[in-house]
């Protein structure tokens, strides 16, 4: 035992007795000293717990550390003993890409202050792997981000994770909302009011308000074919009082059958879904996976062999014309995602086997070769617009940036089944099927 430790134990023993005034023993606080803190760090995240408790988390800025010489304190609950484990991360620019990471621990339960030092590892800022914090990262993660400090991730078992610019927090949705077993969320989208909308393999949508409260919004079946197979919802869009979902019937015996479009009834706080062939002017019913809207009344829905658009309540079945010129030969396309725009020339779609669809001024046409004239080949699964003319496409082992006539490949630091993407002005977030979250900056 070192002299310092011996002194500490002596002091603790003295403080534990009644011979010396407790005021002289100081508060029972674990004082954590940070070593090797990156000079670039602007924010510190700490996750701490006693023994097997769930992690508590909190943040502080580097300015808050300066007054105490790179130290901060954690006050254990009175009378609680055990090992207080502390994990520390440093970040910059509100991005969930750790610059530093360190751990330390101390036995609490005595009296007086305790000291612990967290020696921080230097982590490379890029590539950004955001999954270092000790929270639950969902498998089959889908994400949506409006800014570097507002990233939402959802997936299996109704796990929802939020990055607020300094901390990852698991958003716990009550069982009364999720039901049991908990659904897998397959679609996530935020609106400008701060609500987060989640849909998946359950007959309801979950809306998390800006204040964190979660509401269960039932999905009622409207005009649909007779079947007891459950519906699977993989796309959602919401803005203002309008919200849309798309899905398909998940038949265990036959697979995915039929396409469904649901609209939100704010007066009844519920969705009503209609099978696409029951919609006026639409004769087909094929599985739908993707949805995007240019406005609450201008939406696009894409799926296996089906493209639908709706403007001001008028549905229209769209077609990919394989000749691209005369627009007379229609072909099917297995599409998974769409970028909507009020200008049809800017509407883009992607799908299986590296297919991307665009409007060529005459009709929708498709291609599978990238800007380097290489066949993409991989399934493209998600699309997000940095601007109307700067899109990010992701898929199985595939990352592309689509700014001109053909997508340009982005060479990732690792391969993955990227299954959702959210582009921001300075970069984009992607989620892998395994639940890993990445961020990549983009040049203008």
């Amino acid at each position: 035992m070192s002299m310092r430790a011996g002194l500490a134990h002596t002091m603790m023993a003295l403080c534990a007795s009644s011979l010396i005034a407790q005021s002289g023993c100081g508060e029972h606080v674990l004082v954590v000293t940070l070593e090797n803190l990156s000079s670039e760090a602007t924010g510190i995240s700490t996750y701490f717990r006693i023994d097997q408790d769930s992690f508590r988390s909190t943040t502080l800025t580097t300015d808050q550390l300066s007054g105490a010489g790179l130290k901060f304190g954690i006050r254990p609950p009175e009378g609680r003993s055990g090992t207080l484990d502390v994990q520390v991360f440093s970040y910059k620019d509100s991005l969930p890409c750790a610059l530093n990471k360190g751990v330390t621990s101390a036995d609490v339960g005595g009296s007086g202050p305790l000291d612990a030092t967290a020696v921080l590892d230097q982590l490379p800022f890029g590539p950004c792997r955001a999954n270092d914090a000790p929270v639950s990262y969902p498998v089959d993660a889908k994400l949506w981000a409006s800014a570097p400090n507002n990233v939402w991730i959802a997936g299996k078992d109704a796990v929802v994770l939020h990055w607020d610019g300094s901390l990852f927090r698991n958003i716990v949705i009550p069982d009364s909302v999720t039901g049991s077993p908990k659904p897998t969320f397959r679609a996530i989208r935020g609106d400008s009011q701060g609500n987060i909308w989640l849909a998946g393999d359950a007959p309801f949508v979950v809306r998390i308000a800006a204040n964190g409260s979660a509401t269960r919004l039932p999905i009622q079946l409207g005009a649909v074919s007779s079947s007891t197979a459950p519906l699977l919802y993989q796309g959602i869009y919401a803005e203002g009082s309008a919200a849309w979902i798309v899905g398909t019937r998940n038949d265990p015996a036959s697979g995915l059958l039929g396409g469904f479009v649901g609209t939100f009834d704010p007066a009844r706080s519920e969705f009503v879904v209609t099978e696409t062939d029951k919609l006026p002017g639409v004769s087909s019913s094929y599985p739908l996976f993707g949805i995007d809207c240019a406005s609450s009344t201008d939406c696009w829905f894409v799926g296996s062999g089906l493209i639908l658009s709706v403007q001001n309540g008028i549905y229209k079945e769209q077609f990919v014309f394989s000749d691209g010129n005369t627009c007379t030969f229609k072909s099917s396309a297995d599409l998974r995602a769409v970028y909507a725009n009020s200008d049809i020339n800017l509407v883009k779609m992607i799908g299986a086997s590296g297919r991307y669809v665009f409007y060529n001024g005459k009709c929708f046409n498709s291609a599978t070769q990238d800007a380097a004239m290489r066949t993409i080949g991989s399934d493209l699964l998600a699309i997000s617009a940095r601007t109307s003319k700067d899109l990010i496409l992701v898929g199985t082992n595939a990352l592309y940036r689509w700014r001109a006539s053909a997508p340009e490949q982005i060479f990732p630091t690792e391969l993955a089944q990227w299954q959702s993407v959210s582009a921001l002005s300075a970069g984009f977030f992607v989620s892998a099927q395994t639940g890993r979250i990445f961020y990549a900056p983009l040049q203008p």
Binding site: L14, G24, E27, V31, A68, K71, R75
Partner: protein, 206 residues
């Protein structure tokens, strides 16, 4: 106790022979002299006594005694020896005085008897040579064996010892309190600075 008594008796007998011899020598040296010389020597002895030159005083009184064998000269010699701390010689001269002056004034008789008791008590006190034995035995109680009364010298010694003990106790207590206060303040200051949380420390509550 027996060893002490035997030892003491042996000392007394030796001293008795020694001082008897001294007295015989003094008496044998007595020669006729003038009265003026006696007065001068006696006054000189008194002056030296008052100046606490006890050895000079003994010499002067002894010289005066050679001129005139007045008992009060013996008494003065006894007094000087007592002042010098020579209890045995003082006792011998007191006793010689009482034999030479069987009817002294009452006040003088009382004083002499008291002095005799004191010098006897002093002689009964352990000598330095017997220090080792003395330390093994109970401290003398200071009671007169004849009367059972506490002897004045013992009372004074006890009072002085009590005073010393009291001062010592006060000193110890004061020192202890001061030391405790210093240690307490030191420990308190040490604890305070050791346990003082850094200024501006941000603390999170679990």
């Amino acid at each position: 106790m027996n060893s002490r008594t035997n030892h003491h008796s042996q000392h007394v007998s030796i001293r008795g022979i020694l001082y008897s011899s001294i007295l015989l020598i003094l008496l044998s040296a007595i020669q006729p002299a003038h009265a003026d010389d006696f007065d001068a020597l006696f006054r000189k002895g008194m002056t030296l006594y008052q100046k606490k030159d006890y050895e000079g005083a003994v010499d002067s009184f002894s010289a005066a005694y050679k001129i005139h064998q007045f008992p009060r000269v013996m008494l003065n010699i006894a007094q000087v020896y007592r002042k010098m701390g020579n209890a045995q010689l003082a006792l011998d001269f007191y006793q010689q005085y009482m034999k030479a002056e069987p009817n002294p004034p009452a006040k003088i008789r009382a004083d002499v008897e008291q002095y005799i008791q004191q010098t006897k008590a002093m002689l009964e006190a352990p000598s330095l040579l017997a220090e080792d034995e003395r330390r093994k035995e109970p401290a003398p109680m200071g009671f007169d064996k004849q009367t059972g009364q506490l002897m004045p010298w013992y009372v004074e010694a006890q009072n002085a010892q009590s005073a010393r003990k009291k001062k010592l106790l006060i000193g110890i207590i004061s020192g202890s309190v001061a030391a405790a206060a210093i240690i307490g303040v030191g420990v308190g200051v040490g604890l305070y600075y050791r346990n003082k949380l850094p200024e501006g420390l941000t603390i999170f509550t679990y």
